[in-house]
Amino acid sequence: MATDVTTAAGRGTVRRLAGSLHRRPRLRLTLLLTAPLLWLAVLYLGSLAVLFVSAFWTTNSFTSQVVKVWSTDNFHELFTTPVFRQVILRSVGVALAVTVLCAVIAFPVAFYTARVARPRWRPLLVVAILTPLWASYLVKVYAWRLILSEGGLADWMLAPFGLSGPGFGLPATVLTLTYLWLPYMILPIHTALEQLPANLLDASADLGARAGRTFRSVVLPMVLPSVAAGSVFTFSLSLGDYITVQIVGGKTQLIGNLVYSNIELNLPMAAALGTVPVVVIVLYLLAIRRTGALNSL
């Protein structure tokens, strides 16, 4: 009997609390958002701010000690030193190449999984596309190292045609990154194609359009925002990568490698290098916002 009373009273307290929270939407919102907002502000925006600020510092060239003096020397060096310029352009080029390759490969795959395959197979196919994401990044990249190594699978398969694999280097990097990020491109396109109403295709044919015209005028424009959404992933993931290129890239250097090699000796320079991909991606997002892609993320 006594226990009954206490639980009833306990329930009453919870109910009263819930009730008073219900009547105070602002308090409710504050309680809900404080922790995640702190996380976002301190850990994420805070570290970004530190990155930006330290990019304007310099180092003592003898001791490698950071000197907290405001200067734009790092950025000046970044844009005037040919090596840096080359590496930046190469990195952006790799990211763009990976994005284009992913889009070109993903579209037919997504078209098959979303519209051609039997409806009951579709979820299974999506799972199959996702399974590589469950495997470790390093395992996959080392697998590609084996495939592309001299006398490896690529060489063996191309040998009958009198060709050899690309070996390690820039093409191998692009290839491996394309493999790694492909699922991020397939998924949004698959979703968009799956949601494309069938009667829009009927309507297009009904008005006299053949398949090619329907694809260009109806399917492509309606799916394009999702391609752009997928490209946000492929582009930014490629731009930030520095491990793949170390494993299959041979002597190729990307921005990430320069950041990595500068971090000990010249931290402000590494920070300046680090701001480059951030700026590039912000520019990329601004360009892409016009397609409406960010609404379909």
Binding site: P197, N199, L200, D202, A203, S204, A205, D206, L207, G208, A209, R210, R213, S217, V218, P221, M222
Partner: protein, 343 residues
């Protein structure tokens, strides 16, 4: 002599185990407003999709203006469709939607614009050309779909329950407009609907579909006054179906008969059936349903059986009609309104 716009011969189509269309023969004349009426699953929409070319028949033949089109793709047929949910292209403006068919057929841009604007004017949507479909109301989208299908002046326009998604008022208004537009442009309209009232008000002729077959083809009056089967009688309008012993007693001859409720007059029991061509029956009012403009009486007849009678509320009101419940009445109707159905 009018030409034949569409001729269907022994058309059959199954989806897996289900037979959607089980042998349909039909001729639709040039310039006709033709309705295909039936409950859902009766095959009317499948026939429409076969006409448009979205499906190919398992068997049978489709002719369009004397030319066989059975195996042709949708884009090879001079037929346009207005879809149930409009199927407007969301990424195009209203004008681009309407001009799409012309663009595909490589009509020069200037002419395209002129014709698209003219088509929009026909459906009374001038000035809406630059909007997106998402910015329009249901009724406006409906008209854009109509303009898009009409702008290419097809031989036949197919309409798949185009008014289904509209509310009642808008729907009645669109019924009148659709009929007016059809008369204006003179194109054959094939109109699919499950709403018998819609079919009756708009059509020149109606085909009533029942389980993949056509139960009856005729003018609205023919369908309503002389239904060919019990199904047609009960699906189109309300009806009193009489058969067996009840029919024999009331009509005086064996067979299946139908009497429309509005043909039956409700009189006091003491009233004499004055005219010889009138039949009569007495009974007790079991239920009174007040409909505002009319009242429906459900009367249990003395010898068994039940008739529904519909009376205009010329002088009575809701208070008066309620008093009829449980009273004795005499029902009377003209003998020719007991329509015999072929068994």
């Amino acid at each position: 002599m009018e030409g034949i716009a569409i001729r269907l011969q022994n058309l059959r189509k199954s989806f897996g185990e289900t037979t959607a269309v089980a042998g349909v023969d039909l001729e639709i004349r040039d310039g006709e407003f033709f309705s295909m009426l039936g409950p859902s699953g009766s095959g009317k929409t499948t026939v429409l999709r076969l006409l448009a070319g979205f499906e190919t028949p398992d068997q049978g033949r489709i002719e369009l203006a004397g030319q066989e089109v059975t195996g042709l793709a949708p884009f090879e047929r001079d037929v346009h469709t207005v879809f149930q949910d409009y199927a407007l292209f969301p990424h195009m403006t209203v004008e681009q939607n309407v001009a799409y068919g012309l663009k595909v057929r490589k009509v020069p841009k200037a002419e395209r614009l002129v014709r698209a604007r003219k088509a929009l004017a026909e459906v009374r949507l001038e000035g809406y050309g630059q909007r997106r479909p998402a910015q329009l109301s249901g009724g406006q989208r409906q008209r854009v779909a109509l303009a898009r299908a009409l702008v290419g002046r097809p031989r036949v326009l197919l309409l798949d329950e185009p008014l289904g998604a509209l509310d009642l008022k808008l729907r009645e208004q669109m019924q009148v407009e659709l009929k007016a537009i059809q008369r204006e442009v003179g194109i054959t309209f094939v109109f699919v609907t499950h709403d018998q009232e819609e079919a009756l008000t708009m059509s020149d002729r109606i085909a009533v579909f029942d389980q993949g077959r056509i139960a009856q083809v005729g003018t609205p009056a023919e369908i309503y006054e002389r239904p060919a089967t019990p199904f047609v009688a009960s699906f189109v309008g309300t009806s009193n179906l009489l058969d067996g012993e009840v029919a024999h007693r009331i009509v005086g001859a064996p067979g299946t008969y139908n009497i429309r409720p509005e043909k039956i007059r409700v009189l006091k029991e003491s009233a004499e059936a004055d005219e010889p061509e009138h039949a009569t029956a007495t009974g007790t009012v079991a239920e009174v349903v007040y409909l505002g403009d009319a009242t429906r009486f459900l009367v249990d007849l003395d010898g068994g059986g039940r008739l529904t009678a519909l009376q205009q509320n010329l002088e009575t009101s809701s208070e008066d009609v309620a008093a009829y419940r449980g009273t004795r009445v005499r029902l009377t109707w003209h003998r020719r309104h007991a329509v015999r159905l072929p068994s």
